[in-house]
Symmetry: C2
């Protein structure tokens, strides 16, 4: 009945690991594990829904299209990525698991 | 723009601390800090919506109305409390912060 966010992570991660933990019509809860991965150069996330995301281990840098300063995230940091907030993961810490919990939802 | 889940927790907690981090029509994301607190004797949560909850620090025991065995939660443990799943917090670890992140949503 219970599971653990920090378990059952593949030993080898050729790419970022995305896993849907819970999904209903209104909301999707996802864990993401990065191990030095970043969004491929020139690619951006441009989502027509809101995403609330918290980083639970490791560290990362998010960058935003336009003039906004990159944001460094450490364990416990969370932020809202509103619909239309064009962003990418510029960097994640190498050699450790950067674990994200993302809640995607429609307003 | 960013905040941290583990910061800005009141020094004194006479009762459990509930804080809404994000809310829209479909979803409410809440952090809860318990410091040895439990649901008052004889009280139960009986919610007409689903709740997905993860424990991020400390530890706790949830109990369920009826015959189900109590569930002990440690850091990283998560579970779904479906609508109508009558439950209470029987115990949280004394002297440390048990931090919960709860996502309440309607199916």
């Amino acid at each position: 009945m219970k599971n653990n966010l920090f378990e059952h992570i593949p030993a080898e991660l050729a790419e970022e690991f995305f896993e849907t933990l819970q999904e209903s019509g209104a909301v999707k809860i996802e864990r993401i594990v990065s191990r030095g991965h970043a969004t491929p150069d020139g690619e951006w996330y441009d989502q027509p829904w809101d995403e609330w995301v918290v980083l639970l281990s490791g560290s990362a840098v998010l960058e935003f299209a336009g003039e906004r300063t990159p944001v460094t995230l450490c364990a416990g940091d969370y932020l809202l990525l509103p619909s239309g907030c064009v962003h990418r993961v510029a960097w994640t810490e190498p050699d450790v698991d950067t674990l994200w919990l993302a809640v995607h939802f429609n307003r």
